[in-house]
Amino acid sequence: MADELLLNIRGLKVEARGEAGWTEIVHGVDLDLKRGEILGLIGESGSGKSTIGLAAMGFARDGCRISGGAVTFDGVELTTASDAERRALRGSRIAYVAQSAAASFNPSLKLIDQCTEVATVHGKMDRRLAQSASIDLFKRLHLPKPAEIGFRYPHQLSGGQLQRAMTAMAMVCRPELIVFDEPTTALDVTTQIEVLAAIREVVRQFGTSAIYITHDLAVVAQMADRVKVLLKGEEVEEAPTRTMLATPKEDYTRSLWAVRSLRAEAKPATVPRAVPILAVDRVSASYGAISVLDDVSFALHPGRTLAVVGESGSGKSTTARVITGLLPPTRGEVRLDGEVLPASYRQRSKEQLRRIQFIYQMADTALNPTQTIRDILGRPIEFYLGVRGKEKEERIRALLRSIELEPDKYIDRLPRELSGGQKQRIGIARALAAEPQVVICDEVTSALDQLVTEGILKLLLDLQKRLGLSYVFITHDLATVEAIADEVVVMQRGRVVEAAAKADLFRPPHHPYTELLLSSVPQMDPDWLDRLLAERAANEGAPT
């Protein structure tokens, strides 16, 4: 009996309402889940994984509707059940953990009240019992001060704490199934570990079934027994985790796996030129009274890529702002090819501005929505190089070809007619249009899907080889660093904690923070999390 299906979804179809009426976004997906089993749902954005997760509760967001198929939970057919029946199941037998805990908690109510509410509303416990159950869960999830933390308001907790509190809220009624919708995506890599470990521990303790939705393959490898891959509302492949990791069958699955193995050509370890193309020399900066950078120094040599790695608050983006002159430093200087740059961009010459170009993280906000591609690429050409008319048009077309977009097709388009990856390519082309020496890439692939990221990184490497560009590559993702960096600088809280050639960085011994960072990146090995936790427990005692 323990093997019977807890959740059985057959031929699920979901439609979403747009300007042109209803369009189908999930095209007949099947899903099985046994008791005590954890199923990972993997897919890129637009794959429908969140929609399917919600459909497992018989729920569709505003503007969506379940248009076909059957969702059976423990014998109850959710698509035809009454509202009351569905409500009775939600929260008590099927629970949901959302992506953003900060937005999903009611700001006006105490956390403990929002947790106990689930139990009291479904008549499972009285308030006092529910409160002690909640506190017990806070303890199991390793929240600090579990007896008191519930009596605070959501805005008084950190992101990682809120995510665990939301998991506690989901487990108060000991549901049989929990849908985790990208619970760690918004967290730093080091915080993610704690939350992942806590979730897995508690789910195992109570034998809960779970659907774990994510786009991160390494994470799903740690959490799930079986993995289902989704693409554009359809299933691509499903297999037990270890099998899926070792021998993926479909091309698409294989390509998802492949991103992590992208590697740049190893550059010869030549003696770097005496004068680096870009030198940041003992820079300190602050916003008002708050110091954000402290004595930061590094050098970038021509034709090479320097990766600046750090988590949120490390100061890596602030360093970029100092280099471009948006934030004048309080101490130190920035030198371009030996020449000291004026602290503020307003004081720099056009030539100086031209030689350093910037590519933004979010292509949506980096391109003026009312300008065509021709305008966007044409302006830097005209402004910096004084080129007009026919020759300008020729150059725009050449740029489009170099970023692998066909000129005739794209030159007259507006940004909103392009995909995320295409917009980012335009961002790259705009930077290239100025014929710079240094290009600063600020988390340029962080907002993109894996496959698209691979394309962008390959493009950047190719351009570097052909044009001899030097890159400052800001990122928080170590896999990207491994893929394209030559030298690496690790930052934490406004300081440089380690600077080394890439090969050296990934070899011990490390600065303790680098150690923490490296070890926190989930690997594609299902046993990785267990090993890491065991290691840490041996080193420090219980993880906090």
Binding site: Y345, F358, Y360, T365, R379, F383
Partner: protein, 274 residues
């Protein structure tokens, strides 16, 4: 699929709204041509009932109501349009400049607007018109300046959202001057909300000028103006006659029409899912 498939689906209220606006625009432009009598021409005795000679009767001085209504379209609507345009030019420019230059310029304008908006608009208008007199240029300037404060707030709020966008920063880093930033980067992106606001501001200005005229402090006789026409003929109400309601209704109908159109426009552009 024929050409009708390319038109967006318009709810009936919006169609009515557009029709009203078109009708009024026509009346305003061609008043001189289609009015049967002159604007201030006395044609008969006072308060004549509706007849075939005078379709809507005569007013308190024996002038033809219909003609005065048509001329009123030209005067009242015309003055309101000019005032709104002026308010937009001043308020919009100030708002965008404040956003681009920032710093003390922004602070100065914002504080100034805060103070000016701290006095209710009608009351402030009454105060200023007491001082400056009620000639039409003073009326236009006073209302335009008072209304410019609201346009300033909107232009600044919308501009603030745009100015923090990466593409504006990219333009700054290129070394573009403030003229390029305002005209090429910011302005094209603030147009939709500003256009909608134009409609709303027009309604407000229109109603305010009519109210002031009704109170006797706006457009002065003998100029045909709907607000003062209501005032002139108000005594008819006590006899149960609906004639004084005609100019008031004229005001109401235009405002309704514009409001319907603007409401639909805002609804569409905000992308709210229903």
């Amino acid at each position: 699929m024929g050409p009708s498939s390319r038109l967006p689906h318009l709810p009936p209220t919006v169609i009515v709204g557009f029709a009203i606006i078109a009708l009024y625009a026509f009346a305003a432009v061609f008043a001189g041509v289609i009015a049967p009598y002159g604007e201030t021409q006395v044609v008969a005795g006072e308060f004549e009932p509706w007849s075939s000679a005078y379709w809507l009767g005569t007013d308190n001085l024996g002038r033809d109501m219909l003609s005065r209504l048509l001329y009123g379209a030209r005067n009242t609507v015309g003055i309101a349009v000019v005032t709104t345009l002026l308010a937009f030019a001043v308020g919009g420019a100030a708002g965008l400049v404040a956003v681009v230059l920032g710093g003390w310029v922004d602070q100065f304008f914002s504080r100034l607007v805060d103070v000016l908006m701290a006095i209710p608009q009608l009351v402030f208008a009454l105060l200023l018109l007491t001082i400056l007199g009620t000639a039409i240029p003073s009326l236009v300037i006073v209302i335009a300046l008072l209304d410019a404060t609201r346009v300033f707030r909107l232009a600044r709020a919308v501009g603030m959202n745009i100015v923090v966008m990466d593409y504006v920063e990219a333009a700054k880093l290129r070394g573009e001057g403030w003229r390029w930033l305002v005209f090429h980067e910011i302005l094209p992106n603030v147009m939709p909300p500003l256009v909608a606001e134009f409609g709303l501001r027009f309604c407000f200005v229109f109603l305010t000028i009519s109210a002031l005229s009704f109170l006797g402090i706006g457009i002065q006789p003998p100029t045909a103006d709907w607000g003062s026409m209501v005032r002139d003929n108000a005594s008819l109400i006590s006899f149960g006659d609906t004639t004084p309601l005609l100019p008031a209704a004229a005001i109401a109908i235009l405002t309704v029409g514009v409001n319907f159109v603007v409401d639909w426009f805002l609804h569409r552009s905000s992308g709210l899912k229903d």
